[in-house]
Amino acid sequence: MTTAAGERSRPDAKTTSLGKAHFQALLDLLWSKAYRVIGPTVSQGAIIYDEIRAVDDLPRGWTDEQSGGKYRLQRRDDDAWFGFVVGPHSWKRYLFPPKLTVAQANRTPDGWQMVDVPDDEPAYAFIGVRACELAAIAVQDRTFINGQYVDPVYRRRRERALIVAVNCTQAASTCFCTSMNTGPRCQSGFDLALTELPDRFTVEVGSVRGAEIMAQLPTTVASPKHLKQAEAARQQAVDQISKHLDTTDIRDLLLGNLEHARWSEVATRCLSCTNCTMVCPTCFCSSVTEVSDLNGDHVDRVRQWDSCFNWDFSYMNGAVVRDQIRSRYRQWLTHKLASWIDQFDVSGCVGCGRCITWCPVGIDLTEEVAAIRETPS
């Protein structure tokens, strides 16, 4: 991680407690500090990430029921605000937006003038970041900030973003963060990490910036009782995780089985719809298209999320390299779980389970890996 984004020294602040009655004050404080506050909210039958101005915007009393190819909101029997897991959105849509003009070109009598497009998005405050999502952000940091070349928009947004994590207190059937060592407990990479109790949050401070925020709010030292309740709530998430991905030697397992029969088998089910890559919090592929005005004198270079499942993604010299779904699924899975390790020294998978939930035919990558592991070539 870069210094600005990463080295958030962790003061020895004790875990504090913030009453739910004061949460609105937190939101107001962040807005007043010119943050654009983004958090979970219910929209179109799902919990997505959008602007949060009031506590009422949060998905109070809602939870999500997830399994392969299935996502449903359900009413909870309590009024929890963060009593859900993760939805189709991830924070990458703000740090690495789905559509962005990255440069412009204007025709002048003297040739083309290439113009930078400065990013003017206000600093974000992310509310409700899960442990697997903290891991996903750290994975994307490696792609966009820590390499030889940097994505300047990502870096700017990332460095300025304030992260208020909220620990999971439950898990979906699709969750496997424990296999990927990314959760469910938020360990690092946050400014504040909250655990929700019926009437309050316990708050861990992860950075000076986080401490400064908390200093302006009416917090108390968390009592042993509340700490115990918070621990139990977090443990509930651990206990509910049922899915497992065996990552032993997974890089060599997958790259050593590029001709495994399972790739053809999964290709009969996979629709190559790109859903898994769109909901994945680490997938970073994009394409740039030229959008010009009618006389062609002004051109926007518009970057959009792309997917290795799109047929023409590997187009070259009049032909498509990965012409079949078999090779496209193989590319996605081997990149995510194997070659990502060569490239970025980390797995591209954080175990959030979104690709399983949002696959219209319920393909489960943990099952695909297990099938290859069962009969390696």
Partner: protein
């Protein structure tokens, strides 16, 4: 050739520099060399690249393509790119003509490993347009003849009139390069070799396998079999370097398109030591 100076990589990797077409050399039907000049004179003077590296050439509103440099400014005073008309961008470029304006960003990617192989005999094997990214390597060797041992060019093309840069062969030979050409399809009056370039590797004499560096660029199938021939002649896999091609959009490893196994062809390549990319090169549709 000056040390690689990446002039065009600003904070924003998508920002190209303005260049103009100072001249066009028609090479063969459908292939021309574009002599490019930066609009900014200081940039033009300070730009530099290593043989084998490529630029992204950008036609606003049309698109952008990855093209290897085929000569540096020390040859013609311009930064040269030899391009075959194939798609929208290359066809539009062909219509621009002298004075035409476009964008350029680069140089990108890895280079031919000449500096690390001083003293070696160098065998350059090229197929078709694949000679373009190898020409700067030939120039570099001709400029420093004492630095390398024997230098051989084995060049295959489809037909005699598809051979690139024929006007220069005489000078290359005079500069100590053993130029051997071959064609897949002969034509009336052609007295040269007929057959694929691998056959020239098979019969290359003399060949000191232990002290030979092989640089290879051409269609992937040609490269696979040329490597086979070279291994048959006793070369090790780590003596062979290949230049690969994939869909490239960002050229800086951020867009994901050019991946081949763990490699980003744009920034880890396009030139790879064969033994490092072999496990992935032979897998169909990877």
């Amino acid at each position: 050739m000056s040390a690689a100076t990446s002039c065009a990589i600003a904070d924003n990797p998508w920002l190209a520099q303005s260049v103009k077409i100072a001249g066009v050399t028609r090479e063969i039907p459908g292939v021309a060399t574009y002599h490019l000049q930066f609009s900014d004179a200081a940039l033009h003077a300070h730009y530099g690249f290593q043989p084998g590296q490529f630029n992204m050439l950008y036609l606003p509103g049309v698109g952008e393509i990855a093209i290897s440099l085929s000569a540096g400014a020390d040859r013609n005073g311009t930064w040269d790119h030899t391009i075959r008309e194939a798609g929208n961008v290359t066809r539009t470029l062909a219509e621009l003509g002298i004075g035409g304006a476009l964008g350029l960003r680069g140089p990108y990617g890895s280079c031919w490993p000449l500096d690390e192989h001083a003293g070696a005999d160098v065998v350059v094997v090229a197929g078709g347009i694949g000679l373009a990214p190898l020409r700067p390597a030939l120039y570099a060797m001709m400029q420093q003849p004492r630095k390398f041992g024997r230098c051989t060019l084995l060049y295959g093309a489809r037909t005699p009139d598809a051979l690139l840069y024929t006007r220069e062969y005489q000078q290359w030979s005079a500069s100590g390069v053993d130029v051997q050409t071959t064609v897949d399809r002969s034509a009336d009056g052609w007295r040269g070799n007929v057959g694929v370039a691998q056959l020239l590797v098979d019969r290359l004499q003399p060949l000191v396998a232990g002290n030979t560096l092989l640089l290879l660029c051409g269609p992937e199938v040609m490269m696979r079999y040329t490597v086979r021939s070279a291994l048959g002649r006793g070369l090790r896999k780590d003596q062979i370097w290949v230049s690969l091609e994939r869909n490239m959009q960002c050229a800086v490893g951020l867009c994901g398109h050019c991946q081949l196994g763990p490699a980003f062809v744009c920034k880890d390549g396009p030139i790879f030591r064969y033994d490092r990319i072999e496990p992935f090169l032979d897998v169909e549709a990877l």
